[in-house]
């Protein structure tokens, strides 16, 4: 298959060999599980349980609410100890509403929804509903509710389901392992998703640095002519939806458009496997494979982790720290976010937990920009990081917005390449946050204006009605007099009064 070049991109050291040959291991059930109500993009789920309730594995404990949301399920059987505010796996360390479960050790399944006997004969809606009911979100890291994305077929003409197995972030190998160990489940999930989306073709994109995965997946897909496995070049950020689509189709997704506008929907390989479980067995998403790696981890591994496991428990399962970690990151080293503490849960979007030593991190002091242009050359979005950062530094966010800072997807390539170690992507994260805040303030003030207008109109109407009522009342008295000037005078008096 002919491939197309993508713009920019970098070739960092991958360090995947720390875990790529380690088979997935399941970890024992921890003493407590912490299930945040919001592990996804969209509205938090609504709690269905209360303190003291007994739940079984796979039971829905929080229901999705609103158009974009995802349900949460108990990852094991046990007792709800509380619904409390617990620090989120987020750089701010801010708390979030979380259901805490004390496992009973029996790991007993609840009554699950019936398997869908022949998914390829089923109505696409049946599949959407099942995926929504199973709380599945994009497992590549973005955690967008999968059912919403599967519904795109109803709104747009789609041709291809692109399964993302690029895994371009250094260190991470969880998708690689899932493809190598469960190829048939991934392929089955992909076929079900393609059926739900109404796409005729499935393309599975895998970076060339995973030869075993490519081979195994190609073999597993051989029976299905509609599926093609494609080896894509090793180039960060190949795993970004837009760039993978560009590499495979040669078409660029315009800013503020979706890849679906080009007829392509991208899902992660682990998501496909979760769909397989939901459709074939009625099992919701209650565990995921997490790559635990980095120089500070004693035994880097790929761990099948129950959702809600504390990062500290997971690290302990991997032998704890062998060195002092300089930074613990949730996700990959390029786009992952630092965790302020280990006392936060693993969630559905957690692809990796990396504990990196000082040597693995570039903490070199920042110096002045030498205008080398390296950041401009490598930006995969065709932006000019050096200019945007300069304006942001001077608090000139409007200009930064005009230069396209909102189109930056924080891949971090510019920061990585900058010889002066300017924290470019940090500037963009900051600017995007402020611009989003300003936008929501603008929307609020518009709403406030409408409210004030509505109130003014209502008060005027009420006053009018009062006047009219008074006028009507004074009518009988003035009955004898012919209507005309006199009545008018009465009304005017009232108005002036």
């Amino acid at each position: 298959m002919k491939l197309f070049p993508i713009r920019g991109g970098i070739h960092p050291e991958y360090r995947k060999d720390m875990t790529s040959e380690k088979a997935i291991v399941a970890m024992p059930m921890p003493a407590a599980l912490y299930i945040p109500l919001q592990q996804h993009i969209g509205a938090p789920a609504e709690v269905l349980v209360a303190e003291g309730d007994l739940v079984r594995k796979g039971q829905m404990i929080a229901r999705n609410q609103g158009a974009v949301s995802a349900s949460q399920h108990a990852p094991t059987s046990g007792r709800i100890t509380s619904v409390a505010e617990v620090a989120a796996p987020h750089p701010s360390g801010l708390p979030q509403k979380t259901i805490i479960i004390e496992p009973d050790g029996k790991d007993e399944w609840a009554d699950l929804p019936e398997p869908i006997a022949d998914p390829f004969a089923a109505d696409p809606h049946t599949i959407h509903d099942r995926v929504a009911q199973s709380g599945i979100v994009g497992m590549g890291g973005a955690a967008f509710p999968s059912a919403v994305k599967l519904n795109l077929g109803a709104q747009k003409k789609l041709e291809t389901l692109l399964l993302n197995g690029a895994e371009c972030e250094p260190y991470l190998t969880c998708d690689d392992r899932v493809m190598r160990e469960y190829p048939d489940e991934v392929i089955d999930g992909a076929r079900i998703m393609a059926h739900a989306l109404g796409t005729a073709k499935v393309v599975i994109g895998i970076e060339q640095n995973k030869p075993q995965a490519i081979e195994i997946m190609t073999r597993a897909a051989a029976a299905f002519p509609e599926i093609k496995v494609v080896a894509v070049p090793v180039q960060y950020p190949m795993g970004s939806e837009r760039h993978l689509v560009q590499a495979i189709t040669g078409r660029e997704t315009p800013a503020r458009k979706l890849t679906a506008d080009l007829g392509i929907v991208v899902h992660n390989v682990a998501t496909a496997r979760a769909v397989h479980h939901a459709v074939r067995f009625g099992r919701p998403l209650v565990a995921r494979v997490v790559t635990v790696s980095g120089g500070a981890i004693r035994e880097p591994s790929n761990v099948m982790t129950p959702i809600g496991t504390k990062v500290s428990d997971l690290v302990e399962f991997c032998g704890g720290f062998s060195a002092r970690p300089e930074s613990v990151v949730n996700g990959g080293p390029m786009m992952g976010q630092p965790l302020p503490s280990l006392d936060v849960p693993v969630v559905k979007g957690t692809s990796g937990i990396l504990a990196m030593t000082a040597e693995e991190i570039n903490n070199s002091p920042t110096s002045a920009c030498i205008r080398c242009g390296a950041c401009v050359t490598i930006c995969p979005c065709g932006l000019s990081p050096v200019d945007m950062a300069a304006f942001i530094r001077k608090d000139n966010l409007d200009v930064a917005a005009k230069l396209g800072v909102m189109d930056c997807f924080s891949c971090g390539s510019c920061s990585w390449v900058c010889p002066s170690h300017i924290p470019l992507v940090h500037y963009f994260n900051y600017a995007k946050g402020v611009l989003r805040e300003l936008e929501s303030e603008r929307r609020k003030s518009e709403r406030i204006k409408t409210l004030a207008e509505v109130r003014t109109i209502r008060i005027e109407k009420a006053a009018e009605a009062k006047r009219a009522a008074l006028a009507a009342k004074s009518k009988p008295a003035a009955d004898a007099a012919p209507p005309g000037g006199e009545t008018k005078a009465t009304t005017e008096e009232k108005v002036n009064a």
């Binding site: 750089p91 801010l94 929501s440 406030i448 006028a471």
Partner: protein, 190 residues
């Protein structure tokens, strides 16, 4: 029946007469809209709270356009509005004593509320919910932080509070000034 007809007839007549008079007046006394005034009006919060001392946002905008009012009077607009006005009108503003507290909203301490409904009547955006003798609550989404309700509450049950920082509104802070060459410490001559 007859009296009803009379009522309807006379009201129609009133309407027509007043309409004609007003229409004529509007034409006769038509005021040329000042484009600057319009622009300023668009910058105002538009909540008509009257905290500035004028009847509403349009009146304040008019006063500003004529250069009759200070640019620091709008409480809900806060520091960002003063900065915007200062840029627009070319008027220097002393922002030093205007701390940017960040947006606030009103909050009713429910134990202290006696349900007098005074705050409801005061609120220009219908952000307060409650009925006579019943406890009142603020609809935070509709509150624009003018704090007029705080002033009318007879039991001091309303306080202004900051919006809490949540996962939804948190964002990265601005990176620290890097060790770029030190800037010469020169102050402006007086």
């Amino acid at each position: 029946m007859v009296s009803m007809l009379i009522a309807v007839g006379s009201l129609t007549l009133i309407g027509l007469t007043l309409g004609t008079v007003l229409g004529a007046a509007a034409r006769k006394f038509a005021v040329k809209e000042d484009p600057l005034e319009e622009e300023l009006k668009a910058m105002m919060p538009g909540s008509q709270c009257g905290q500035c001392g004028y009847a509403g946002c349009s009146q304040y905008a008019a006063a500003l356009a004529k250069g009759e009012a200070a640019i620091t009077l709008c409480a809900p607009g806060g520091k960002p509005l003063v900065e915007a006005l200062s840029a627009k009108l070319g008027v220097a503003a002393d922002l030093s004593d205007m701390e940017d507290k960040g947006p606030e909203h009103a909050y009713i301490i429910e134990d202290l509320c006696i349900g007098c409904t005074r705050c409801i009547r005061e609120c220009s955006t219908d952000a307060i919910m409650g009925a006579n003798k019943l406890m009142h609550t603020i609809i935070v989404d509709a509150c624009h932080g003018c704090s007029k309700c705080v002033k009318v509450c007879p039991t001091d049950a309303i306080v202004m509070v900051q919006y809490p920082m949540t996962l939804a509104n948190w964002h990265w802070p601005k990176p620290e000034i890097e060790n770029t060459p030190p800037k010469p410490a020169l102050v402006h001559a007086q």
